[in-house]
């Protein structure tokens, strides 16, 4: 059994707000093995982003509060880390790509300075000039995707354009890496954009730069929080293709969060389905999508429009996602569930407990009647 990169166990997160307590996550467990891609899919307000932010401890506390659970990253208990050590965990340990590339780049800095900061974090830690939690060099080799490995770029005129000896020295020291990572994300003439500001680039370019920044720190775990949701559909396809290619090149473990079932099917090895803060189903992506064992997943998949097919109005899930302020007791899905029994109202679902000995159970489901769900076509 391999040591998992990330092991989240029974994580519960609450938000304390004026109106009451919001149960953003309830007993969520996710396990991520090295080099794997785990997708988390769910509707708006199902707790996807809370999970993404909770793992590197980026949730603002208060109002957020981690009530219970354990997050173990490369054997380090993240929830046990003192506050001052958290920056050491982030970047080089856990990297992140955010939803809105325009807001996630600092408008005051040129592209070079943005990427250089990320590169510098890794360089200083590798050189022992700043402390790090994970001194061991990462197992991945990033050089495969790099097109040019010469000092050519250094000789480019732009490289000598900035004022100040100190700034120029810093620029020259980091230039090669910055250019390499920009090429890694398929920006062909990175020299031409080094001196531009984020607002002068297109959304797709900005997201490429965010990806380059996240990868330049060589994280063991990359959390992609809806990386393509803010992009239009053609750019989305480009960025996804890029990410898929990069996955093979850099072989980082990725936690891929999205509301788009298609994207998850494309990108992930395993998928977890979140509903109202509960992980209702988890397993290999083909298994979950082909034989869903939770009524929610099943109905969700049925409401995806099929291509070239017109069989009347799309089936939609009746009702709406419960407010996180009052998640129904028992199984959170029971008010909308066609298979609901009395037991569902009071007893919380058996949280992903696999029942051994039944060969049909190929993956984990939080439904009491998962066999029945799987049987019904």
């Amino acid at each position: 059994m391999v040591e998992p990169v990330l092991d989240v166990q029974d994580l519960s997160v609450e938000y304390e707000a004026g109106a009451g307590t919001f149960h953003a996550l309830t007993g969520v467990s996710v396990r991520l093995d090295p080099g794997r891609v785990v997708g988390i899919v769910g509707e708006t307000g199902s707790g996807k982003s809370t999970l993404a932010h909770a793992i590197p401890r980026l949730l603002p506390e208060p109002p957020a509060r981690i009530v219970s659970g354990k997050i173990s990253f490369r054997g380090v208990d993240v929830l046990d880390l003192p506050k001052w050590k958290l920056p050491l965990l982030r970047g080089t340990g856990i990297g992140m790509i955010f939803q809105e590339p325009i807001n996630s780049l600092n408008p005051a800095y040129r592209i070079f300075d943005q990427v250089a900061e990320a590169v510098a974090v890794r360089k200083l830690r590798d050189a022992g000039e700043s402390p790090t939690l994970f001194p061991a060099p990462e197992p991945h080799d990033y050089s495969k995707g790099m097109v040019v490995k010469s000092g050519e770029a250094l000789l480019h005129p732009i490289a000598t354009k900035l004022p100040g000896r100190r700034r120029r020295a810093r620029r020259e020291a980091l230039m090669q890496d910055v250019l390499d990572y920009l090429r890694l994300v398929r920006i062909n003439d990175p020299e031409t954009i080094l001196d531009l500001y984020p607002h002068e680039l297109s959304g797709g370019m900005r997201q490429r730069i965010m990806i380059a920044m996240a990868l330049s720190a060589k994280p063991s775990l990359l959390i992609a929080d809806e990386p393509t949701s803010a992009l239009d559909i053609t750019i989305q396809a480009q960025v996804l293709t890029l990410m898929k290619e990069l996955m093979e090149e850099v072989q980082t473990s990725i936690l891929f969060i999205s509301h788009d079932l298609g994207i998850i099917a494309e990108m992930a090895d395993e998928v977890g389905v979140l509903y109202a803060g509960h992980l209702v189903e988890f397993g290999p992506v083909e298994e979950v999508f082909a034989n869903p064992r939770h009524p929610y997943t099943k109905l969700l998949l049925r409401s995806v429009p099929a291509q070239y097919k017109d069989d009347g109005p799309l089936p939609a899930l009746s009702g709406s996602v419960p407010s996180l302020a009052n998640v129904p007791p028992g199984c959170p899905f029971h008010p909308r569930c066609p298979l609901m029994r009395d037991a569902c109202k009071t007893n919380p679902g058996p949280l992903l407990e696999p029942v051994k000995g039944i060969s049909a159970r190929t993956h984990l489901s939080a439904c009491y009647y998962s066999d029945e769900v799987a049987r019904k076509a």
Binding site: R90, G91, G95, L105, A108
Partner: protein, 345 residues
């Protein structure tokens, strides 16, 4: 093209090519500023006025000191001694006395000019002190504001003290302090100094609260950047523009407040040339000898206006977003021939 690249690379660099590289380098940096100034004439006017006013103030202040050292006696840049009583009293503006004289025969132009360094230094200095102190406190109060932590306690203390100051109108408070300290230049400077910084605490704190939850700050945190570095590199960097603009606009307000204290008669003594004091001293001559009052009044007006115009335009120069847009707008309106010519040059 190739030769230009070579010289910039320092290949076969002679001292001359290096020097020339430096000069063109400077021009490269200044170009966007120059374009913004040209695109917005009011900013240009404000900028020119600020340069003229500052240069004049500097010369008026330092030439007497330098000449004292070099020549052994002070050389005044004012046509007459600002405190030298003469027999030309109550004269209307003429070539001899550009802005006339008062009842004691003091040359108004000389007095207005002599007051320039003091008033400008007060405006720049007091607003600058407020910017540094208030800005620093506001930064701390805004960034570490989490309740039930040490930072939260410190920030609460800062804000409550600020509230005490803000409970009074700043002019009333400044007047009260100045009155209790007694008449004099020093006490009135102290009075404005003490009342001015709380506004910067509020302003800075508000901006910090707005910026610190921006996604790029979270993204920097996620990238492993330390909190102190985030504060300076990501938060403070994005506050500089609004703060600097506010500061520039504020210089005029400080000058007016300071002049008001003098005008009420509890500020600068009469023998020190100061615009507010002059307006106060000559106030009763407004109908009979209007130049005595109008000249210092106009000096205040022009100085405040200059900094306001400049401050307004500063926003466009400092913000990369509007800078590029303006530059593009200018580039679009420039004739193709000019662009081609500029490219060749």
């Amino acid at each position: 093209m190739a030769s230009a690249t070579d010289s910039e690379l320092g290949v076969d660099a002679t001292p001359w090519t290096l020097l020339r590289g430096k000069a063109s380098h400077l021009r490269e940096i200044l170009r966007p500023f120059i374009r913004v100034l040209r695109a917005n004439p009011l900013t240009l006017i404000g900028f020119i006025l600020v340069v003229i006013i500052s240069t004049t103030a500097l010369l008026v202040a330092i030439v007497p000191v330098i000449s004292q050292v070099v020549l052994g006696h002070p050389v005044l840049l004012t046509p007459y001694d600002p405190n030298g009583i003469s027999t030309d009293y109550s004269q209307a503006p003429s070539l001899k006395h550009l802005l006339g004289t008062d009842k004691l025969g003091l040359d108004i132009f000389s007095r207005v000019l002599a007051a320039l360094p003091l008033d400008l230094a007060i405006g720049v200095g007091i607003a600058g002190f407020a910017l540094l102190l208030g800005g620093g406190l506001g930064l701390v109060a805004g960034y570490w504001d989490k309740p039930r932590t040490l930072g939260g306690v410190i920030s609460a203390v800062i804000l409550r003290v600020t509230d005490v100051f803000l409970a009074f109108p700043s002019l009333v408070l400044a007047l009260a302090i100045a009155a209790s300290l007694g008449r004099g230049t020093g006490p009135s400077i102290l009075a404005v100094l003490l009342t001015w910084w709380p506004y910067y605490v509020r302003l800075t704190r508000g901006e910090v609260l707005a910026v610190k939850h921006r996604p790029y700050v979270v993204a920097a945190r996620a990238a492993g950047v330390s909190e102190v570095r985030i504060l300076f590199r990501h938060v403070l960097r994005n506050l500089i523009e609004p703060l600097l603009v506010y500061y520039t606009l504020d210089i005029g307000t400080v000058i007016i407040t300071f002049s008001t204290i003098s005008f009420v008669g509890i500020g600068v003594p009469l023998d020190v040339s100061e615009w507010g004091t002059m307006v106060e001293a000559y106030e009763q001559l407004l109908l009979t000898h209007p130049w005595t009052v109008l000249a210092p009044g106009a000096a205040i007006f022009i100085t405040v206006l200059a900094f306001s115009l400049f401050g307004d335009g500063l926003r466009d120069i400092l913000d990369p977003r509007s800078r590029r847009t303006l530059v593009q707008a200018v580039a679009a309106t420039t004739l193709p021939g000019q662009v081609a010519g500029a490219a060749e040059a």
